[in-house]
Subunit: 470 residues, 2 copies
């Protein structure tokens, strides 16, 4: 077999993965190194194959982050520009606004573009519910106790087992089960800060971060953020040099609302910067399992075992929002986190944790995740194309690397909060942009959820939104 045939063979193999849907549009293609290893060719042969695939429009190179599967038809709307939040820390006051949003987001009568929870049909938690029913029937008495404050041991073992998939060695003792990612974030922030301290976040950032920061009387510093790959390290470095930051709270992968994922190189750079300045990092990996790439992104935690870092995650976006089960790995802050957990919730309910342990141990979770990722990628594609057709000229939309939310920047001067009221009156809920900032930014932006099966009702909702925004 000569070399020419081998690069063609590799290209054909990758093309087949794309055609079969194993590699989805927008997913990261295997790295050259991985491809070379898997097909047993040289790096230069792999590069030849990738150039061929690029020529055919099947993949596209992105500077510094490798190759991605091309979208079937490129979305013509531009992506959001890098954000430019104010350089000063601000007090946070978003709670009132967010309460109103959540109130409406839970209303099943509205077209569900507001709340970042997948539809029940996609969560497919029937098996988990049956395991809960079984645990309640057969082990209810054993579990009618306060669990160890760390949470159910079997669940922590299952979580540790899963972390091995991205190369992270955890012991069950390293893990504390929490009431969703929310309690994990609260415990993490409380462990590394005092009232008045400043926490650096992406901009825009998840409003839940801002709420916890507000509740703890902290200030927030919003960092310039690229919709594709997260915060600007130079801006972070400058803020660190100025001594302006007590801790950082970043998405591990697939930020909310922008949907970007930092490259591993950027993550390493950030870890180095933080280590130099002795500033801890809290990473929220709630969307990591829903990344569209062929490999699950590596969390910060797995890149440097010595980093001063607290890892938070949850099962709320993938299978069980109703169970309220998250987890935290607090490293050197473990004792403080446990101590605070005693005072916040003491421990979580025992039976749901036992059922989730049974569920994870029984297999099938990974194929469930694969199915979700496929549907979400399709939903985002459908939503993007609909927006392209019906939103006003000048609209920008994000290119999520995973998860199920889309960030939409309207051409000024449309106010998304006015649009929110108009949309509610038409039976449509979305998340107005201003709740994702503590500095009165993003009033012209919307976050739209693609977490429900695509349907005429949802398409019509997006069309109505587009008409209202025009």
């Amino acid at each position: 077999m000569d070399e020419i045939f081998r690069y063609e063979q590799l290209a054909a193999g990758i093309a087949a993965l794309i055609e079969s849907g194993t590699l989805r549009p927008g997913a990261r293609a295997p790295s050259l190194r991985t491809a070379a290893k898997q097909w047993r060719v040289s790096l230069s042969t792999a590069l030849q194959a990738y150039r061929l695939l690029e020529d055919r429009g099947l993949i596209e190179a992105r500077p510094k982050s490798g190759f991605y599967v091309a979208r079937a038809l490129a979305i013509s709307l531009p992506a959001p520009a890098i954000s430019r939040p104010p350089a000063a820390a601000t007090r946070v006051s978003v709670s009132g606004v967010v309460q109103k949003l959540l109130h409406h987001a839970a209303d099943p009568g509205l077209v569900p573009l507001g709340c970042a929870i997948p539809g029940a049909e996609l969560l497919a938690a029937g098996k988990l519910d049956r395991l809960l029913a079984r645990a309640a029937r057969t082990k209810g008495t054993d579990y009618n106790i306060y669990t160890a404050p760390q949470g159910d041991l079997r669940l922590r073992q299952e979580i540790a087992r899963r972390a091995l998939r991205w190369g992270q060695v955890l012991a069950p003792e390293d893990i504390v089960v929490t009431c969703g990612c929310t309690e994990a974030l609260l415990l993490a922030l409380k462990a590394v800060s005092r009232p008045g301290d400043t926490i650096a976040v992406e901009s825009p950032t998840y409003f839940g971060f801002l709420q916890v920061i507000e509740a703890l009387d902290l200030k927030v510093l919003e960092l310039p953020t690229d919709a594709e790959d997260g915060i600007d390290p130079a801006a972070l470095g400058a803020a660190l040099d100025a001594g302006a930051i007590t801790a950082c709270l970043f998405a591990s992968s697939v930020g909310n609302p922008l949907g970007g994922t930092m490259t591993v190189a950027k993550k390493r750079l950030i870890l180095d910067l933080l280590a130099t300045h002795g500033v801890p990092l809290i990473e929220d990996d709630i969307y990591g399992d829903l990344s569209f790439g062929d490999q699950r992104p590596t969390p910060f935690m797995a890149l440097n075992p010595d980093a001063d870092l607290i890892y938070c995650s949850s099962f709320s976006k993938t299978v069980s929002p109703g169970y309220r089960i998250g987890w935290i790995v607090a490293g050197r802050h473990r004792a403080k986190v446990l101590e605070t957990k005693f005072a916040v919730t003491l421990c979580g309910p025992a039976l749901p944790q036992a059922a989730l342990a049974d569920f994870l141990g029984s297999g099938g979770y990974d194929s469930h995740l694969r199915r979700m990722r496929r549907v979400f990628a399709d939903n985002i594609d459908q939503m993007s194309r609909t927006i392209e057709r019906v939103f006003p000229a000048g609209t920008r939309i994000s290119r999520p690397t995973g998860g199920f939310v889309l960030w939409v920047e309207l051409p000024a001067p449309i106010q998304s909060r006015d649009l929110f009221e108009l949309a509610l009156a038409r039976g449509i809920c979305f998340a107005p942009g201003d709740v994702f900032s503590a500095s009165d930014r993003y009033a012209h932006c919307l976050r739209l959820s693609c977490g429900h099966d695509w349907s005429d009702r949802i398409e019509q909702g997006v069309k109505t939104l587009g008409a209202l925004a025009s």
Copy 2:
């Protein structure tokens, strides 16, 4: 029927209630006013009847708090003297100690005198577990969502319905479901205080109060407390006059660890004092349903609808510690409490709340409570008599008005923490006294749980403790 006959008839009626066990040893007898009304006699006739019962040793008068059913054989050990904590506020630092206690308290291999949770056999939650299994099977998909942050509507309706029994009119909107009483207390304290503020508590007081106070960077002022009927209003008044208190956190009824219950008159006096000084009250009513009196004690909340007051309770002591479901009625602080809840846990798990609503709605909870109270009163009696036999001379023990913990004061200079280590080595767990204070008091005290069916194993454990303490 002449008057003489009528007072004898009344006395016979009360005696019959005592004999049948409806009025338990140590329970508060009906007030003179109530008895007079029920038997349709004059107040002076009722008093005659009570004097007769007193002469017969069936009831005993306690100054300012009415009549109580005498114990079959009076416990000869003296009750604890009123506590004399320091008059200055102190920073709190109990968390490390408490973690160790809770770690051991959860160990099923130890004689369970440490943890204030009833034994599974007494909780008798099989029906609740079956209802959870049914809800998971039939309504799992509907409930796999974030609930309204206030919690399940049907559960809040059931809680409001129960509050009617002690004359409290609540709407479901007044209630927020929490992760046990712990989260309720955290939300309550956060709503009324800022870091550095001072919270007045009983002394000794529940270590969980101290942990939440510590987590919120608050200070604590321990008030002199009578083991029979709670804090000393004069000491509270003096501290209020000195402007030393931001808020009070008191047991509503059946304090932990002392087991005392304030009279209604004392509660009214305290409410008046607090209103005069504009200081809010947080009441923890977690043991109210386990009071031994013939009537459930009236919470502060029911005595003055205009009071600046936050009410906290939970189902953890009566049926479902493993479900972690508590509740809070925050009055004028409701918006702030809800806002903080978003940042602490967002909302609780949906299915356990639905199951508990089904359970409360299905009847049988009150007869369950009656059974628990009867067993706890007997357990406390057995424990008290055993202590009387085997503990050193000079030991004092509390006379709980409900619940299932006993407070034991050892004759100085025995250190309960030394005893704790010795007891652990002998396979016995109890709660050493120092965790119930932030001011290094009660090192010579023990809290013993009477929450498990009385058994040879438990009796032997108490005997071993007594020998170790001698």
